[in-house]
Homo-oligomer: 356 residues x 2
């Protein structure tokens, strides 16, 4: 299979390299051939081509079996008056490849549970799978500016169509069937017109196509509370692009180790895109201390969801669990005790060793 690597900015190249080594080991052990090719995205793509998502990258991604992304962005490209920004590359590739569903599993690693900012009794048992709509909503709405002086104003429109809501709700409900059979849809239907459409369409889909799945709706402000107060009560959660951005990042704090959380962005067909939840961490870029495990776990999701290699995915996940059980910690996981912490390369090599 052909795998496109998009290392991107900051720590992106370092962590993607470790994931590549892990995938290469998997190929060797299970007798597969993975063809890797690296392409530009984000700030580095702006620097080299002026475009955060060059056409060559899009073409390579379209032809790939799957895509593994590091991270994009950094202070270097933060000038608000810049013509383009790294994030534009990320938004555009989601849209170009029709990756309308962003899957974010939020699950505790038992050994790391004491790193959670939440009390152990509250966070215990948390295992949520988010489906964030990724190619619609206010992210891709019409925008513009008008007027001048005090009256100068800017707008951007949140839009959802029936078709957009149906396909993401269906995908989430399917996933619920393979888990605890419960789905929660999050909206702001008491204020927003697109949320009212979302709520109505989601209820129709669930009643007509998934009567067996337990279904409820929660307002986004209430959900922001529930995630802190009773996170273990949720199973699969589906929501729009903006609410999903905020809620999944909030939820990503619960396990206490952002560096362990992968995500997948999927469409109806074509390659999926896999990446860690965390950002490009420019403050530690190049220091060799970034945690590569979220990216390695994203590679496992890639094998499972895009390449149909479930056993191989399991093997990676077991290897990651094993290095954690062995006590290996990059600095972000080591907390109080930095003396025993390992480097990005050491962590990657330890996972590779477990796969041998």
């Amino acid at each position: 299979s052909s795998i496109v690597l998009l290392p991107g900015d900051g720590i992106g190249p370092e962590i993607v390299e470790q994931a590549r080594l892990v995938l290469a080991k998997v190929a060797e052990r299970f007798g597969h051939t993975f063809d890797f090719s690296s392409h530009l995205i984000g700030g580095i793509a702006i620097d080299e081509t002026g475009d955060p998502l060059p056409q060559a990258t899009v073409d390579a991604c379209r032809g790939a079996g799957a895509i593994l992304l590091g991270a994009v962005g950094g202070p270097k490209w933060d000038d608000p008056s810049a013509k383009t920004r790294p994030e534009a590359g990320l938004l555009k590739i989601r849209k170009e490849l029709g990756l309308f569903a962003n899957l974010r599993p939020i699950k505790l690693f038992d050994e790391l549970a004491d790193a959670s900012p939440l009390r152990a009794d509250i966070v215990k048992g948390t295992d949520i799978l988010f489906f964030r709509e990724l190619t619609g909503g206010i992210y891709f709405g019409e925008s513009g500016t008008s007027g001048s002086g005090e009256e100068e104003s800017a707008y951007q429109s949140m839009t959802y169509s029936v078709g957009e809501v149906k396909r993401i709700v269906r995908m989430a409900a399917q996933a619920a069937r393979g888990r605890s059979n419960r789905l929660t849809s999050v909206d702001k239907a008491n204020v927003l017109e697109p949320s009212r459409l979302w709520r109505r369409v989601a209820a129709d889909v669930m009643a007509n196509e998934f009567p067996d799945v337990q279904y409820d709706v929660v307002l986004v402000d209430a959900m922001a509370m529930h995630l802190i107060n009773r996170p273990s009560e949720f199973d699969v959660v589906v929501t729009g692009n903006m609410f999903g951005d905020i809620l999944t990042d909030e939820a990503s704090m619960l396990p206490g180790s952002l560096g362990m959380l992968p995500s997948a962005s999927l469409g109806d067909d074509g390659p999926g895109l896999y990446e860690p939840i965390h950002g490009s961490a420019p403050d530690i870029a190049g220091k060799g201390i970034a945690n590569p495990l979220a990216t390695i776990l994203a590679a496992a999701m890639m094998l499972r969801h895009s390449l149909g290699l479930a056993d191989e995915a399991d093997a990676i996940e077991k290897a990651v669990a094993a290095v954690i059980t062995d006590g290996l910690r990059t600095p972000d996981l080591a907390r109080g005790d930095q003396s025993k912490s390992v480097s990005t390369e050491e962590m990657g090599a330890a996972v590779v060793a477990k796969l041998a």
Copy 2:
């Protein structure tokens, strides 16, 4: 002074009544005259007049010194196909009275700290004052529907003008001067056009008018993380209507007792509106067990901000702290030990007694 009471729905009438009794006691002790009048808002207003904010209520509020609101909404009025809903009354009164700033202090009561879902070492020292923009943004943006079938879609537009951003940032920066002199502005400038305007205007206001106030900006998704991970690092936070709705509700979980949190909605002039952060809690309405303390603390904010009665406000806040120290707990605060819990009326009476 004339005080308009808007009890609203669910537990609203019960908790507003206790706050009224506390205010009456304050009037007696400090030699003031408060004229109370009660008016309709929300679901009960729909039932009685067909309108969630009857004109008579608007007129009474305009003429008042201040307004004390209970809560609005409930399952009875939740039909998505209904012509109007209770929340419309709340949104309309904010707009009619120009209440563009929603202040939400998030502060721990030491005696209740073990009720926080966060670990004690994380939540310790948390003391944030949120300024949520309340009359603009996507809440009041143009909305509509179009198309049919799969193509049917609905939209609502997020808009901010220079003038709207300036006035809320100024108010927040002023408040920061009276506290730790730090202001954080939250936006999503990497995706949203109105956030880019917000970021630029806020930076200008801070640089030109408040060079003495330490200022930084945080993306809304990152802020949703920071509130869980390091809440004690923030002082004053200013943000737009939608982000403020989500982030203040998230933050309201930190003290572990939603029933203790008041809020104030202020404009440039005219009466302010004061209310608890929590909702109408229809599940416990009429049972006499709702916690009236957030509403009583909202009444204290009212005395301080709208009626210029700072000593009287202090007296109420001290009385509330004293009943908590005495161990009085409504069921929401009692957690494990419900045997000793007190009723809404008993809690109100205890505060009144402390004021004697």
